[in-house]
Amino acid sequence: MSDKEPVKSIITPTRTEYTYTPGPSAQRSLRALARGKLVGEICPSCNQVYYPPSGACARCGVATRDEVEVADKGTVTTYAIVRVPSENIDLELPYCTAHILLDGADIPFFGLIQECEWDAVRIGMRVEAVWKPESEWGLNAENIRYFRPTGEPDVPFEQFKEHL
């Protein structure tokens, strides 16, 4: 015992596989996305519009079913410039991730920002989606490559402070 190196760590590989089904709301939204449309859902109780839809209003705890189309442009509500590499993320560093309040939605949507100097990204900035060519659209969020500035005037914080 004493002449042996102590065991300091062991590696025990494990792997589990899952079959994931998105449920009715995400399915409808993904099918719309494959047609180039951003379709969210509205809460029947508080009228908040959710994109992407989860099938429920977390505020009210009720099911959402009525569809509402939202715009593919919106306002940056917060952002980060990422300079640290991460496993499974195949993006050139640095890159900019942002919460974008799409016009017509009540909660921000997660997107990348490009075609812009990093020190020019700011809260309140107006951005629009840059889509892949239509021939490459599929049932996934990658149909939108990224968002870029529209050049419109910034939106004052007061106008979106309830939608962070």
Partner: protein
């Protein structure tokens, strides 16, 4: 001790593979049903607690998604256990005993079908010595069944008879998944999955949700059905090192049963969370339940075993049985971990 009553119980029908709906889609109607039948307005529910496992969904923090179903604005008091919903009920009961709240919604959910359950359950084992062996849940249960047979405490025939009885009475349970009349000779002619366990000795893989509303103080008696009181509740555990246990006995069940006061009154029936047929034998012995005690009026976990809420469902089914006037006093049991590692006992009584 405060009087705490089960005010209502709601559940889904249990199915092998729920692919149409998300967990949140499934939770909203079930908890809505439970709250509505409790007679307690949602705004007066003092505490929410649920049991689930992220390993079922294969996503870290999947349990947080369930909060989307609760309507958490204005802010609510909410908690979660990475355990069967029966332990969520225990947490809520403690909170009520502490006098912090007078009502609670408790639920558990799981879609075990999303992964490969036998393999998923390996991940609950200790990650140093047992888990890396790659042993799955049915193999572990088979070790226990073999030990029980070798000890002369059961037989493959008795195990088949247990499965037959549970699935026969489950014909009256509209939410059960595996029901029907089976013949012992035919079952014993089937091949084993992992010796000595045959398919009928193993629980079905079930997707589903169940929910209970607890009431105390002025909330008792507001519901559609008669309140059923929790007269005792306790949970205990045995070593997670299976090699350090006598798998033919369940000391934790015995201790929990004594602490919960199982025999402080007559035990008319018991809802035992015995996912594998032989485990019913171990639990009966640990709880000292004689032949006069009716076991599993609902059909038990051999008829439907929704992972992470089959234990809560036992409590709910027992309460429903009493509320319907079919019995006056009974015992509900929940288990978690390999080979009956952790056990919860809840003694229920009508008015």
């Amino acid at each position: 001790m405060r009087d705490v009553a089960i005010a209502s119980f709601a559940q889904t029908k249990y199915v092998r593979n729920q692919v149409e709906l998300t967990e949140v889609d499934m939770i909203i109607p079930v908890i809505g049903d439970a709250i509505s039948r409790s007679g307690i307005p949602k705004s007066e529910i003092g505490f929410y607690c649920h049991g689930s496992s992220d390993y079922m969904a294969g996503q870290s923090f999947a349990f947080v998604g369930a909060v989307d179903a609760l309507g958490a604005f204005p802010p609510i008091a909410e908690s979660h256990v990475e355990m069967d919903g029966a332990w969520a009920l225990y947490e809520a009961w403690v909170k009520i005993q502490c006098g912090e709240v007078d009502s609670a919604l408790v639920f558990g959910f799981g879609r075990a079908s999303m992964g490969k359950l036998r393999e998923t359950m390996n991940l609950q084992l200790d990650p140093y010595t047992l888990g890396p062996l790659g042993i799955d849940s049915i193999s572990l249960a088979a070790l226990q069944a073999r030990a029980l047979i070798d000890a002369g405490k059961t037989s493959e025939r008795q195990m088949a008879e247990i499965a037959i009885r549970n699935r026969r009475v489950a014909k009256d349970n509209p939410n059960a998944q595996v029901t029907g009349d089976f013949e012992v000779e035919k079952l014993l002619a089937e091949p084993t999955i992992v010796s000595p366990l045959r398919k009928h000795d193993c629980p079905p893989i079930s997707d589903g949700i169940s929910a209970v509303v607890l009431a105390a103080g002025n909330h008792i008696g507001r519901g559609e059905s008669k309140p059923v009181f929790i007269r005792g509740i306790d949970h205990r555990l045995d070593s997670h090192q299976l090699g350090g246990r006598d798998l033919t006995r369940s000391p934790s069940t015995k201790l929990a049963g004594e602490r919960a006061g199982v025999h402080d009154g007559p035990v008319e029936f018991a809802e035992l969370h015995a996912p594998f047929s032989h485990q019913e034998v171990i639990l009966r012995e640990a709880l000292g339940l004689g032949d006069e005690v009716v076991i599993n009026p609902s059909g038990g976990a051999l008829a439907a075993n929704p992972m992470m809420t089959a234990g809560l469902t036992r409590i709910g089914e027992a309460a429903t049985h009493i509320a319907a006037g079919k019995a006056g006093r009974g015992v509900a049991h929940a288990t978690s971990g390999p080979c009956l590692q952790q056990n919860l006992i809840c003694v229920l009584e009508g008015e």
